[in-house]
Symmetry: C2
Subunit: 389 residues, 2 copies
């Protein structure tokens, strides 16, 4: 018999790889030839996991905590997460509504799966975190990117949601602070969107993975407005645990059993050593380290934004959180993808092209991540300055 | 505004929780009142992770290996898995076709997502691992359970596959050894199924998670027959790493990029500490431990099967692998669900009802897991003997 390779499903044509991966591959080639590369494309903190968490993880392993947990996660962890909402946000969250997941990724996958019927639409901002479109597409839902610009701080508004809602619309997905823009959804806007979504009988999903990493004002959780919302969060960013694969989903009470069923069937449970380790994330020692790191990120932002502006990038809204600057490079290009490659070849600075985040003005924008030291950022800006001028 | 809770997607009506969970909850209640419970329902080894793997995991943490890996996993791990196929199976597998996943669960999710269009059908045995139906349903495919009995060792055959293939059929999913039956797909049957699938231009997915845990003859990997097959495996069972959430998918070469895209977008990567830890799974020290454990499982099987037969359960085919006995309880019941509850209440022995694995004769069958000590198994059988006779 001849070998016949299977045909893949139609969804695969709509699921894009990250374009930045090709750039990264080229950066690695250049690095291998001895070129100095400055990484301003990486979406994870440059700090490794804080010592108290690592110690708790090692301890858990030494104690043989290597079996499956129950699908929703360790009760102690769910309670610790709930207690943290009470302590930091003054919001009462039922630990029974918290489902521990493999990263915010797992939480977004579960939320999409619980909500979306084939052909139903979910509204989100364009630009947005690239995977969001794909969680939806995976379960045959449709992501509808709504073009947003500096005038709305790159976020949806109640008006935009209302205007784009149609009979097939099922949900709205927001992120605050957002990737790639670092902007927040102000509480009044969140409340307005929530009311529109409620009025339409839809669902609201809010990705709060960058909570904690805010630099001007505290971020307000969408749970403050009630429990009829899916809130996604993670230990990856603020808690510095990217590689452990641990996050959570807070589900509306009537949906918790469905989320649990999906978690149990699709993923069994989140990693056990990570769950034990994360218990140490809510201790004063760990929190002191997070605060120190937050201040380092703020210092980098406060350096990087004016520095980029000074060399000709427009940063129309000051990013208030996360570790990204979404910069308008239209003075230099209308093809951000080849611009990023040129910048890499000529300067060794790696940045992410706007096309990874959507379509709207994507050729004009690039994303800088300040997940590298102040010195490296300074060096990167100097190289760009020399190349561009 | 009144609170409006979102309506869930239609798929949720078809995705069942594990029935054994309710039984487990009752078992925990009983245990809390001081009753002695014998757990013969648990689908994970009672051994915690082998010391060399734990040591490697702790070492990785101490070295700060806490960031994301690339989507397909650590190159060293992919190479180690490939080397293991060469060493143990004499089969040449391209490390570039191995995608490291969060458990076999992650691998099954990716395989379903890469292959299934909405409404397309995947054939599998009834009984089968319950989640299989749900991976398919999640991405709007349809699982078609084909009733199989003792005459085919509870496995599909080329004839069954051919007979059930229709215009909507896209794939066949096998497991060898299988859950809940512990039976193998003999190489000739595998080859026959493969040829039918090829002739129809379909895809074959083979779950080899219980490879290694075989007691009479070595299991043959489906990769021995060529690379046009999706092979699912895991560090959970033979390697004793359930809670770490680590497995892999070997994809046909033309599908690897699609699998990678899905992995990157849906899950980012498998847990990093687990990946480093698993590098120690292929060392002689670890393998000696696995072999010892395999012999312990074999001893338990060799006790349990005749003991169950002696008290009136029919075990029509000797299970050759995994750690399950699928036993016909029709002498005692035609409602295995309430039978399992009665057994639990009366004897404290927890077993899994057939309805968790499908519909065909599900009321007659129960699954015993020998994931507990020989002493506990002996005690369990004694209790059953007293209750049933
Ligand atoms: C906005 C946003 N959501 C979710 C994720 C997923 O992160 P994780 O799965 O590591 O929690 C990311 C990662 O970059 C992100 O930027
Ligand atoms: C047949 C089979 N496949 C896959 C899995 C999933 O296991 P994991 O995701 O831990 O690798 C299991 C777990 O019980 C199983 O029995």
């Amino acid at each position: 018999m001849p070998v016949v390779y299977p045909r893949v499903a139609r969804r695969m044509a709509d699921i894009a790889p990250f374009h930045v991966m090709e750039l990264l591959a080229r950066a690695q080639q250049l690095a291998a030839t001895g070129r100095s590369i400055i990484h301003m494309e990486v979406g994870e903190p440059d700090f490794s996991t804080a010592a108290p968490i690592v110690a708790a993880g090692r301890q858990a392993l030494a104690e043989g905590r290597t079996g499956y947990t129950s699908a929703c996660g360790l009760p102690a962890l769910r309670e610790a997460i709930a207690a943290n909402y009470a302590r930091r946000h003054g919001v009462d969250v039922d630990p029974g509504c918290i489902v521990v997941t493999p990263g915010a990724s797992g939480a977004l996958l579960l939320a999409a799966g619980v909500l979306m019927n084939p052909g139903e639409r979910c509204l989100l901002a364009d630009p947005t975190y690239p995977c969001n479109r794909h969680f939806l597409r995976f379960c045959e839902g449709e992501a509808v990117g709504i073009p947003v610009g500096a005038d709305t701080a790159f976020q949806l508004t109640p008006e935009l949601v209302d205007q784009h809602w149609d009979a097939q619309t099922r949900a709205v997905m927001l992120a605050s602070p957002a990737n790639p823009t670092g902007t927040l959804v102000p509480p009044a806007v969140m409340q307005g969107i929530r009311e529109i979504v409620r009025a339409h009988g839809g669902a609201l999903i809010v990705d709060e993975i960058y909570h904690g990493l805010v630099y001007d004002e505290p971020a307000v959780t969408a749970l403050a407005g009630g429990d009829d919302v899916f809130v996604v969060n993670s230990f990856s960013k603020y808690y510095g645990m990217t590689g452990w694969r641990l996050g959570w989903l807070v589900a509306p009470p009537p949906c918790v059993r469905d989320v649990e069923k999906l978690m149990q069937n699709l993923l069994i449970a989140a990693p056990t050593p990570a769950q034990y380790a994360a218990l140490a994330a809510f201790t004063p020692e760990a929190e002191a380290i997070f605060e120190e790191r937050r201040l380092a990120f703020r210092q980098r932002r406060d350096f990087l934004v004016p520095a980029l502006r000074a060399i000709g990038f427009e940063v129309p809204v000051m990013p208030q959180g996360a570790f990204y600057v979404y910069a308008d490079a239209s003075r230099f290009t209308d093809d951000s993808y080849s611009f990023c490659f040129r910048v890499l070849e000529e300067t060794g600075v790696a940045i992410t092209p706007g096309i990874d985040f959507g379509e709207y003005q994507a050729g004009r924008y690039v994303r800088f991540a300040y997940t590298t030291s102040l010195e490296a950022l300074q060096d990167g800006v100097d190289r760009l300055q020399r190349f561009l001028h």
